[in-house]
């Protein structure tokens, strides 16, 4: 028999499933009921891909929009408070008052103790003209309270202007001066320093008294050239100490008030050089970084997994071949 005849005879075999098998399979098929949807799985699989992509896109858009609104907020903040309040460190014996409230800020100077009183006020006004007016009014207030300016610096350029004044005001009027000067504009910063000098003056007075007692003792003794020189030296020292004491008391009579008046600085829009797609760019960058790490660590693992899979498949095939090699 030729191979063609053999194939023809094999093809002529009539094989039909017995009726009981047919019934059983029909019963199984009846359980299927409604028509199946073979594409459902593919749809689900495509959802698995689409959902993370959509989430990444939404995240990038949200990040981008957040950056934009952050820029707006920064720009608005710059326009409202162009010069932030400065709370400078107070000297060890001084007092720093952080709250920009004029009346509360300026404590009353002591009437019984000698104090060095200093105040710094930062004001903001609307225009260079307002700066000029504020300077004039500050000088007028200073004069009215019996003080005088020690330095006045004013400048203006385009729509901006600024002035720095150092004023010496009698200590008894300093509280009123601070209150009135603070009303010349919007307070942007304020600082009051009070340094107590009384202890130093008392020490100096005690030393002078001691030296004078020493002088009296020396003068009561018989005069010699050496004793004369000592009397002259101590007298000179006493006079120097008394002059210093007088200068301290005199300088403490006047408080130093530094006044800074300025227009609002022009607001520069906050710009980070980020476009509207910056978020997407960042997301792409980090995705690339993650991908690089995944490749670096994933490729050896993948190669190992592939090797294991190949070994398992070969072993399984050989077992199947051995299983099917018998008649």
């Amino acid at each position: 028999m030729s191979q063609r005849d053999l194939v023809a005879e094999l093809r002529s075999a009539r094989i039909q499933a017995p009726s009981q098998v047919r019934e059983r399979v029909r019963a199984i098929a009846a359980e299927a009921g409604a028509p199946s949807h073979p594409h459902r799985f593919r749809r689900r699989r495509s959802l698995v891909l689409l959902v993370p992509i959509a989430a990444a896109l939404v995240g990038a858009i949200v990040l981008t929009r957040n950056n934009g609104s952050e820029n707006d907020r920064l720009a608005q903040r710059g326009a409202i408070a162009t010069v932030p309040y400065r709370a400078e460190a107070a000297p060890s014996t001084g007092t720093a008052v952080p709250a920009p409230s004029a009346k509360a800020l300026a404590p009353a100077p002591s009437s019984t103790r000698v104090q060095r009183y200093g105040a710094t006020i930062g004001l903001q006004v609307a225009s260079p003209n307002a700066v000029s007016n504020a300077v004039k009014r500050a000088l007028a207030i200073t004069a009215a309270l019996g003080g005088h300016p020690t330095s006045v610096h004013a400048s203006s350029a385009d729509k901006a202007g600024a002035a720095d004044l150092v004023l010496r005001i009698p200590r008894r009027h300093v509280q009123e001066a601070v209150t009135r000067l603070s009303q010349l504009g919007t307070i942007t910063s304020e600082q009051v320093d009070v340094q107590d000098l009384q202890a130093g003056l008392d020490a100096t007075a005690r030393r002078i008294a001691r030296l004078q007692r020493q002088l009296a003792t020396l003068r009561a003794e018989p005069q010699t050239p050496e004793r004369d020189r000592a009397i002259a030296s101590i007298t000179s020292l006493v006079e120097r100490l008394q002059r210093g004491e007088a200068a301290t008391v005199r300088s403490a009579q006047l408080a130093t008030v530094r006044l800074h008046v300025a227009t609002p600085p022009s607001v520069q829009p906050v710009h980070h050089g980020h476009g509207p797609l910056h978020g997407i760019g960042t997301a792409a960058y980090w995705t690339a970084v993650g991908g690089a790490y995944a490749l670096a660590f994933g490729i050896p693992l993948l190669a190992l997994a592939l090797l294991v899979w190949l070994v398992v498949r070969t072993v399984r095939r050989r077992r199947v071949d051995a299983l099917l090699s018998r008649p």
Binding site: L10, A13, Q16, V21, A32, R326
Partner: protein, 158 residues
């Protein structure tokens, strides 16, 4: 195509494939039922773009048959200790000469399988190789060897 339609249309193909693969029509009847039960459970995974329903059902049937062969081998190993297994005459359907049936019975299960797929079910090499999980060349080689064996067996019988 619904599962019912697929089952109705390809029941004989699956049964014939299993009958030749196992060379036992009683076993084939049992395995055919199991095949369609499993196919119903896996029906949602069937993708028409990856192959025909008949090919897919044959793949399921092959898995069921391999499970059967494995369990049979374990069982026969146990039983061989007590008594040698009884030889059952192979039956491959109507229209075959006794010599050809005997020759088919002497082929290995793997050889009968490829003959069933390529000749009985008339699957092309690509579909048959997909069912068997081997390359087309390997499939064609297997078929060629199986036919040569059959030819030799028939020649000896004649």
């Amino acid at each position: 195509m619904t599962f019912s339609q697929a089952a109705e249309r390809h029941l004989d193909d699956v049964y014939g494939y299993l009958a030749w693969f196992t060379s036992d029509t009683f076993v084939a009847e049992e395995l055919t039922g199991e095949t369609f039960e499993r196919a119903l459970r896996l029906w949602h995974r069937f993708d028409p773009q990856r192959g025909s329903v008949r090919t897919w059902l044959c793949q399921v049937a092959r898995t069921v048959a391999l499970d059967h062969f494995r369990s049979e081998r374990r069982r026969s190993r146990r039983e061989q200790l007590a008594a040698p297994p009884e030889r059952v005459d192979a039956r491959f359907g109507e229209g075959l000469s006794p010599d050809l049936e005997a020759a088919l019975g002497r082929l290995s299960a793997g050889e009968r399988e490829v003959v069933a797929l390529r000749i009985l079910l008339d699957l092309d090499a690509a579909a048959a190789s997909r069912v068997l999980g081997i390359s087309e060349t390997n499939c064609t080689t297997r078929l060629s060897r199986a036919l040569k064996k059959l030819e030799e067996a028939l020649h000896v019988a004649a």
